[in-house]
């Protein structure tokens, strides 16, 4: 795969934004850690890391790689390349492909494609229900036992709205320490919904998507998880009310975790008044108050993780009228910059916090062995280097993803991912893929 040497000296980097030090990566592990300038470079390629923050390699709980089925939007190769460019070393590939990832065969295929691409570790997510139809459970155990070793199950894109089915799924995955990642969207309350329901949806004449449609499902699922003692993970939390419910559920000691997307940390529903479908996403962009509540919740840990919900779409699915457009935004290559902007530069979270929310906790929720570890001697050498002082204007044309549907086009964002190391080898350097 990589032609770069297996030994790297990262000189003068600041782990988690702390004091500068040297990291020596050898044979896939962090071999030595010492004060800046203390480690010798014999036989190692040296990366001058002056001013760079070193983070444990990022882990995404929520990525749509689109393969199999929608290779016009993204493939495992292009999607994982985008992930590497964005600083990720592992991604969870969502199950809503065609065919749906609801059998051991499909999840193993995705897992194998990920291994062949080699940019990141691909962790397939298995569907909760067969065909995402919400009627009967998929073969969860077979997927767990497969080579892909699935631990996260989700019908993402659709909600497991049947309470009995949701209860059974939560119970069943306890057998192999799995987690149900729920796309919380009450279907009847969101029929043909187009944007956050509020003053703006009324004015723009777009069918409203009420916050309660998300919150009611989260409340029900939290109660179910508490009742059966199972692990529940809530995908892409988007409202202040959801945060309140999560805070309450956690106070009960229930095993509930949640993620927030970068776009819900930065963007709000006023953007919809342009009617530009690049801002059309599920769940929809919410109000500024919701954004603020989500930031606070991520900072205090009520929301555990940032997950991209990277959702590539071909240009024809976005260059059309709002109602006809597809939901979703690409996010892998901008996630860290958006989090720096929304959380770090605003003073809500330090780099240690970013490492926790973008690597440590996602790896723990997904049970991703070897990821989300400390930058310490003997640990696997998954390292992301970011230059927090850099700024860049987002240019969709330069994205490694096959799709261009970024809501940040033309926007100036802080931070730049300078290098990503997977098992001690760079997958990208200066935004350029190494393989």
């Amino acid at each position: 795969m990589s032609e770069h040497p297996a030994t790297w000296l990262l000189s003068g980097v600041r782990p988690l934004g702390g004091a500068a030090c040297d990291l020596l990566l050898r044979a896939g592990s962090i071999a030595e850690v010492g004060p800046a300038g203390s480690l010798g470079a014999a036989g190692a390629e040296v990366l001058d890391g002056d001013g760079l923050v070193a983070l444990p390699g990022l882990v995404d709980l929520h990525t749509h790689l689109r393969e199999p089925g929608r290779e016009d939007a993204e493939t495992v190769e292009t999607g994982t390349a985008a992930a590497a460019v964005g600083g990720y070393v592992a991604v969870h590939a969502m199950a809503n492909t065609d065919p749906v990832a609801d059998t051991a065969g499909v999840v193993e295929q995705v897992w194998r494609l990920g291994r062949e691409a080699g940019h990141v570790d691909v962790r397939p997510v298995g569907a909760v229900t067969a065909g995402l139809e919400g009627e009967r459970l998929a073969e969860l155990g077979a997927m767990a036992d497969s080579a892909a070793g699935v631990r996260v199950f989700s019908d993402d894109g659709r909600c497991v709205s049947d309470a009995v089915l949701m209860r059974r799924a939560l119970e069943y995955v306890k057998a192999f320490d799995g987690v149900i990642a729920q796309h919380a969207q009450e279907p009847r309350l969101t029929e043909d919904a187009q944007m956050n329901e509020g003053e703006l949806s009324g004015r723009l004449g777009l069918r409203g998507w009420p916050a309660v449609a998300e919150e009611a499902v989260i409340a029900r699922d939290a109660l179910l998880a508490g009742h059966v003692g199972s692990r529940l993970h809530v995908c892409h939390v988007s409202t202040a009310g959801s945060v309140d419910i999560l805070r309450w559920a956690k106070s009960k000691g229930w095993r509930v975790t949640a993620e927030v997307t970068p776009h819900h940390l930065l963007l709000s529903d006023e953007l919809v008044s342009t009617y530009d479908p690049v801002y059309k996403v599920n769940p929809p962009l919410r109000t500024r108050d919701d954004v603020d509540a989500l930031r606070v919740a991520l900072a205090d840990g009520t929301v555990d993780a940032v997950a991209t919900d990277h959702a590539p779409h071909p240009v024809e699915d976005k260059e059309c009228e709002w109602a006809a457009a597809a939901f979703g935004m690409v996010g892998l290559e901008t996630a860290l910059s958006v989090v720096q902007d929304a959380m770090v530069d605003s003073g809500l979270l330090d780099w240690a916090g970013v490492a926790d929310r973008m690597s440590v906790r996602p790896a723990r929720i997904g049970r991703v062995a070897g990821h989300g570890r400390a930058l310490a001697v003997g640990e696997p050498a998954h390292v992301t280097l970011v230059d927090p002082a850099a700024r860049r204007a987002v240019d969709p044309a330069t994205l490694a993803s096959r799709s261009r549907n970024t809501p940040y086009a033309g926007m100036s964002l802080p931070g730049r991912v300078v290098a990503t190391f997977l098992r001690g080898r760079p997958t990208q350097l200066d935004g350029k893929l190494t393989s």
Binding site: G205, Y275, C320, E321, A323
Partner: protein
């Protein structure tokens, strides 16, 4: 005037009055033997209708032809939502044909906005009704009709009754009438008022009978058949009783008050024949005035140099 007419909110008070005054002059042209003006000779107006509306299309077509514009009718019904790119493809086709103005009717809210801002076409875009968003020329013809009978609309009380939630006519009327200084009250069952209506520049009420006695004009909105099974109200009979304009309510309505309806009417549902055909009804005038108002809009958008 702005380059496009997408929303009634695009019109300042001066713009709105200019349209209405211009329409007033143009209405006189419609009264003479030769109804044609040479003003837009050599310019091309495309009626791009993604949704059936013979009335509105004919009205725009007559307006453009009376101004001597070349008119191309482009009916793209059914082809838009099934295949998303067709809006763009259609726009590029129109651009290649040299359309100076595109009058667009679409079932998707914001589609005219999209055409105007996407850079796909260079001409002016006129919103002829988009989804449940706006229908600014309907609001202009309603204001024109009311002004002819009531004089300046400042401080006049206008009541708009019915399915406000799904009504582009109501949205545009609220914005335009507010700009013109009128006091608008929306009346509907709570299920048919949009979330956030309290932030609109108008009042809202649930009880029609309490607001009718002070009205200078009452505009009845059409109740779409597809709302009937969707629990917005229990039954047609109950809706008619609580929100229909019928004989009993005509007695409460002031003598000078006007009755409007954007059409097509559900006679016997939101309005009885007695109300629709009575002396206070200006529903037929609304249709005739539509041509004058649309002539004014096309003239003001296309008659001069390109707006800066």
């Amino acid at each position: 005037m702005k380059r496009h007419l997408l929303s009634a909110a695009d019109l300042s008070r001066d713009d709105a009055l200019l349209v209405l005054d211009t329409a007033e002059e143009l209405a006189r042209v419609s009264d003479r033997a030769v109804k044609k003006l040479p003003t837009l000779r050599g310019r091309t107006v495309v009626n791009l209708f993604f949704e059936d509306s013979t009335r509105t299309r004919i009205s725009f077509e007559a307006a453009a032809k009376r101004l001597s514009a070349d008119v191309i009718n482009f009916s793209a019904k059914g082809s838009s939502l099934s295949k998303g790119e067709s809006l763009k493809d259609t726009a590029l086709t129109l651009e290649a044909m040299g359309a100076d103005a595109v009058v667009v009717r679409h079932s998707a809210s914001g589609a005219p906005h999209r055409l105007a801002t996407s850079g796909w076409i260079g001409g002016s875009v006129v919103n002829a009704g988009d989804g449940t968003h706006e229908h600014p020329t309907q609001a202009l013809l309603d204001a024109f009709t009311m002004r002819r009978h009531l004089g300046p609309l400042t401080d006049r009380r206008v009541i708009i009754v019915g399915d406000v939630l799904h009504s582009r006519v109501a949205r545009s009327n609220v914005l335009l009438l507010h700009t013109l200084g009128a006091e608008v009250t929306l009346v509907a069952p709570p299920t048919l008022l949009p979330v956030g209506v309290e932030t609109w520049p108008c009042a809202a009420a649930y009880d029609l009978d309490s607001v009718l006695p002070k009205a200078d004009a009452v505009m009845m909105l059409r109740v779409q058949r597809e709302r009937m099974g969707a629990a917005y109200f229990p039954s047609v009979r109950e809706y008619s009783r609580r929100y229909g304009l019928h004989a009993g309510r005509l007695g409460v309505l002031p003598e000078h008050a006007l009755i409007l309806h954007p059409g097509p009417m559900n006679r016997g549902l939101e309005i009885t024949a007695e109300a629709a055909d009575g002396a206070r009804s200006v529903i037929v005038e609304q249709v005739a005035n539509g041509v004058s108002v649309r002539m004014a809009v096309l003239y003001l958008l296309l008659g001069g140099s390109e707006p800066g």
